[in-house]
């Protein structure tokens, strides 16, 4: 499961990053393995997504979000 595959309102937890470069940047912004994520809504047919990471708002391109692997259990 990847972050861009969540439906609006779904929550999960970050497991790891698929891409070290992207991972490095995301980690600098406070997105870490273990962070709680929630997909709020999407724009442009899912090309841009609005998520909350540990409660803080963040906008990502779907190409960026697809590098974030999530734990299997979403709720």
């Amino acid at each position: 499961m990847r972050l861009n595959q969540l439906a609006p309102g779904q929550k999960s937890t970050v497991l790891r990053f698929d891409d070290a470069m992207m991972g490095g940047k995301l980690m600098s912004m406070g997105i870490l393995p273990g962070s709680k994520v929630e997909l709020i809504r999407t724009m442009s047919a899912g090309k841009t997504i609005y998520v909350k990471v540990n409660g803080h708002g963040l906008a990502l391109r779907s190409s960026e979000a697809s590098k974030i692997m999530l734990q299997a259990n979403t709720h």
């Binding site: 470069m21 940047k25 724009m43 609005y50 906008a59 990502l60 960026e64």
Partner: protein, 712 residues
């Protein structure tokens, strides 16, 4: 008075600017960081009657692993040995660092703090947004943080000013107790064996003050601009082929978070509320996939409505003020070349710059409100994907909106775009957005295209043409972006990754400071060029080869006597004859064959040339050419233009075809030397400025050609 040097550092959206404004008040100035064009804000803050600090505000940065130009500044500065220790040739080191973190986002704001601290400089941790935290009943144990992080910790609020005095007192203590040397014995990051070996060798080879600084050299030696070629080669030989910067970066980041997150969790007491906040509810509308863009367009409509209606009053005052000043100087000084240079060159040039201030300031006021309230981040989210189709980034929206005031500050705002190609395309297309200097030209010419009282249904046709010209500029910008996107190739990937901060009421003080800075940028950057060109143009219009000026005057006098004209009419006729034979007139006639297919005669040619100072010079030039005196009112310029007959075709010069053709030319053409100079500076080469000049001029020429040829 002893002056210490201090740095203000923190993540984006930590409220650093408010704190900086609180500390320094209006005693701040904007300069450039050495060798780069990123703005460096610094200001003085007094700590006691005998001590003050010179505080530098660094761009918001997440870590020592930068992604944009703005972010590179912090690591570049602190990778320099001279920032940590006093050196003979590079002056004063930083005596202390104030690290600003938002209490409500503390868990993610401390990465850079832990990196900064490893450099060994005395650091104070300022926990900002104390007022917001209190309102949200978030408690923080500062003593625990002090003992765990081994730095002084203070709660402050950049908004209310609470805690600022405590911060100053603490700063004074730190500065007094630790003036001597940096302390490098408590690095929090523990290197792996291989990392340790590399850092140690670089540190001893180059005699660096801190081991973590040596590590920064290892990580960033490819681009750190102050390293010499020889130093780079030496570092490359030390780091060896197995050096995996990304792996090390991830290791370091994880380890640092692992160290401070548990501490923060312990020190924070949060009330567990899951109620949707005001921000969440507002976002349901503002970031809604359909309603969001509607809200954005509505906001833009209201803003531009306000800009036009509010700015017209101060613009009239400035216009009248300069008119009065010119009359005053003309009355006080005897008639001479010098007086003419002063009034028609210098004062007219100055007036041409200052007249734009109201529009520019009002639009930047709204841009600052949108940015500081958090709305701009939503607009970036809404349009990122659409923008990418045109080679732009969501962040380009800030430049495009600002471009409606003035392209210069707009182009400078692109520094937050990390991808070079997206940033370059934004820079290239922003000047196509109709800026405030185009408006006076539109206002004069639109009347020749459609009459003021023509309506299409309930819409005033002139208003529609005006709107059409703006839309044409936007469409051209996007179209040009699309073409650049196809031509330019890049390996570097673009990023959005942008925080959506909680909505906050903007502080009027911060908004006004931002307006002041951007307007000042316009006055200085555009002003100096407009000023110089105005004077050059005055010379071109006032002098002629040989004795043609004298001959023209005699000829005009003869005609005037024959037709028994009064004194004003005679003087105006002389002025018209003079500009015809002047160097400017010769230039206009020289380019006439080229612009004839667009429906322009040599008189319009002169106006096109003089427009290179600033587009609105068009109106003043028209007044001079049509011999109605350069201080004539706009309506009399329009009246005179309406009766002008083309010497070649025998028809009215400003018929619908020529006027529309000329309007189109002004929408597209690159007629702003100041913008070209800024593009050169921001892209570090004349190449892009030249490409921009040629593609915009070609677009203008072709656009006008098509319009004129199809209409006449």
């Amino acid at each position: 008075m002893q002056t210490f040097k201090a740095a203000l550092i923190g993540n984006p959206n930590c409220g650093k600017s408010s704190l900086f404004n609180q500390l320094t008040g209006l005693r701040q100035k904007v300069g450039n960081f050495h060798g780069v064009t990123v703005d460096k804000k610094s200001g003085l803050a007094s700590l006691s009657s005998t001590e003050q600090i010179n505080l530098t505000d660094f761009p918001g940065t997440y870590s020592f692993y930068p992604t944009s130009m703005d972010e590179r500044i912090v690591v570049e500065t602190f990778a320099k040995p001279s920032s940590l220790i006093n050196t003979e040739d590079n002056g004063q080191k930083y005596d202390a660092i104030i690290y600003v973190a938002d209490i409500t986002q503390l868990e993610k704001h401390l990465l850079l703090f832990s990196q900064i601290r490893d450099l060994g400089l005395p650091t104070i941790l300022a926990l900002n947004m104390a007022d917001v935290a209190e309102a949200a009943s978030i408690g923080i144990d500062t003593e625990m943080l002090t003992s765990k992080f081994k730095v002084p910790v203070v709660k402050v609020s950049g908004r209310t000013g609470a805690g600022i005095d405590d911060l100053k007192t603490m700063l004074l203590q730190v500065l007094k107790s630790s003036q001597a040397t940096i302390s490098t014995n408590q690095q929090t990051y523990s290197f792996s064996k291989e990392e340790q070996a590399i850092a140690q060798e670089i540190q001893s080879t180059f005699n660096l003050p801190s081991q973590y600084q040596a590590w920064l050299w290892a990580q960033h030696h490819d681009w750190l601009p102050f390293l010499t070629a020889a130093q780079r080669i030496t570092i490359k030989s030390i780091v060896t082929a197995e050096f995996e910067p990304l792996k090390y970066q991830v290791r370091e980041t994880m380890q640092r978070f692992d160290q401070f997150v548990p501490v923060v969790k312990k020190a924070l007491t949060k009330s567990a509320d899951t109620e949707p906040t005001f921000s969440d509810r507002l976002d349901r509308l503002v970031t809604h996939r359909h309603m969001g863009p509607v809200v954005f367009i509505g906001l833009m409509f209201l803003i531009f409505q306000a800009v036009f209606s509010w700015a017209s009053y101060p613009m009239d005052w400035i216009d009248a003020g300069f008119g009065g000043l010119i009359d005053l100087v003309n009355g006080m000084l005897p008639e001479s070349m010098f007086r003419d240079l002063l009034t028609e060159g210098v004062l007219a040039g100055l007036g041409g710059v200052l007249i734009f201030i109201p529009q520019i300031a009002i639009l930047f006021f709204f841009v600052a409100v949108l940015e500081q309230s958090g709305y701009m981040a939503r607009a970036v989210y809404l349009f990122d994907n659409s923008m990418r189709k045109f080679g732009l980034n969501g962040r380009s929206i800030v430049a495009l909106v600002s471009g409606a005031a003035c392209a210069i500050p707009a182009i400078m705002s692109t520094r937050t775009i990390s991808n070079w190609k997206e940033r370059l395309v934004t820079i290239m297309v922003t000047p196509l957005i109709s800026c405030s200097a185009r408006l006076p030209v539109y206002a004069v010419l639109v009347g020749f295209v459609v009459a003021a009282d023509q309506y299409w249904g309930m819409f005033n046709l002139q208003g529609l043409v005006f709107m059409g010209l703006y839309l044409l500029g936007i469409v051209a910008a996007l179209g040009a972006g699309w073409v650049f996107n196809k031509i330019l190739k890049t390996e570097e990937s673009g990023y959005l990754m942008m925080e959506m901060p909680v909505y906050r009421m903007p502080l009027i003080r911060n908004v006004l400071l931002s307006v002041y800075e951007k307007t000042k940028t316009f006055v200085i950057e555009a002003g100096k060029v407009i000023f110089v060109i105005s004077i050059v143009l005055w010379f071109l219009a006032s002098f002629a080869p040989g004795n043609q000026m004298e001959l023209a005057e005699v000829e005009a006098q003869t005609v005037a006597t024959q037709q028994s004209l009064d004194e004003t009419a005679t003087n105006n006729l002389i002025a018209a004859k003079k500009i015809e034979v002047s160097y400017a007139g010769h230039l206009g006639k020289f380019i006439e064959p080229v612009i004839r297919p667009l429906g322009f005669d040599w008189k319009i040619g002169i106006a096109l040339i003089t427009s290179f100072a600033a587009r609105e010079v068009f109106v003043g030039t028209m007044a001079t050419i049509y011999s109605i005196g350069s201080d004539a009112a706009e309506t009399s310029v329009i009246d005179r233009m309406a009766t002008e007959v083309d010497a070649v075709t025998g028809e009215l010069t400003y018929n619908r075809a020529t006027s529309l053709s000329l309007l189109i030319f002004y929408v597209f053409a690159m007629q702003c030397m100041s913008t070209l100079a800024v593009v050169k500076r921001e892209t570090k080469s004349w190449k892009w400025a030249a490409i921009q000049f040629f593609f915009m001029t070609a677009l203008a020429y072709l656009g006008s050609l098509v319009v004129y040829q199809s209409m006449s």
